[in-house]
């Protein structure tokens, strides 16, 4: 399954300034592991130590937030566009 992954600006330093990379993976988890292989340290930016997606990282497949799908287990299809977008949040 070849998917296109959009890398947010804050993570582009890890992907040699590429805003977009392609990846072979059947699920979001596999995609993250694949990216980690290619860009060591990448997974740590997205996931907690137990492998769960960090609360303030959003991942979308095409136009859907994976939290509304099957989370990291969500299957990928060839041609899917995956976007990684850190949340924007704060407070007093």
């Amino acid at each position: 399954m070849s998917v296109k992954v959009r890398i947010p600006t804050p993570l582009q330093k890890m992907t040699k300034n590429q805003a977009e990379v392609t990846c072979q993976a059947a699920t979001v988890t596999q995609m993250i592991d694949q990216l980690e292989k290619e860009y060591p340290g990448f997974k740590d930016r997205l996931c907690e130590k137990d492998g769960k997606l960090r609360r303030f990282v959003n991942i979308y497949i095409n136009d859907e937030d994976i939290r509304f799908l099957q989370g990291e287990k969500t299957a990928l299809k060839s041609g899917d566009e995956v976007s990684i977008i850190p949340a924007i949040a704060g407070g007093v």
Binding site: S83, A87, I88, G90
Partner: protein
């Protein structure tokens, strides 16, 4: 330095006043430190229609749409703003902990005195805060 045309500056302040007494939030797009567009975002925090007075979180799907729009227009997300409804325009510990965009200027608008909103800019890089000048262009 972040330069904002006065009309866009006003849009940002208006958005904050409209959301008062909840915190407001939004995105500034443009290029080379000059703001060209203000995206008024909703504060999705706490699930209520009117958001929260102490927290803000941008709605994840709205954030995706805006990110796509900025990319289509070949601009960059150069600023991220939110309001403090009762405190100084200075990043809180939560603001610092959740600052994931070191390339953007974080703009905080204090509505402590609603007749006289005060906006300040900062860079937050690895939890270090550096003031960044905001220049309103007439």
């Amino acid at each position: 330095m972040l330069r904002i045309p006065s009309q866009l500056y006003q849009q940002m302040i208006d958005h904050c006043l409209q959301w008062y007494p909840s915190e407001a939030c939004g995105i500034l797009s443009g290029k080379k430190g000059k703001v060209e567009k203000v995206y008024r975002m909703k504060n999705a925090d706490d699930g209520s229609v009117k958001g929260s007075a102490v927290r803000y979180t941008m709605d994840s799907l709205e954030l995706l749409k805006v990110t796509q729009s900025i990319r289509r227009e070949e601009k960059e997300m150069i600023g991220i703003f939110h309001s403090h409804v009762a405190s100084e325009p200075y990043p809180s510990q939560t603001d610092i902990n959740l600052a994931f965009y070191p390339d953007a200027v974080y703009v905080i608008i204090s509505l402590k005195d609603r007749r006289c909103p005060v906006a300040r800019g900062y860079r937050v890089v690895e939890k270090e805060i550096t003031p960044e000048e905001l220049k309103v262009d007439l």
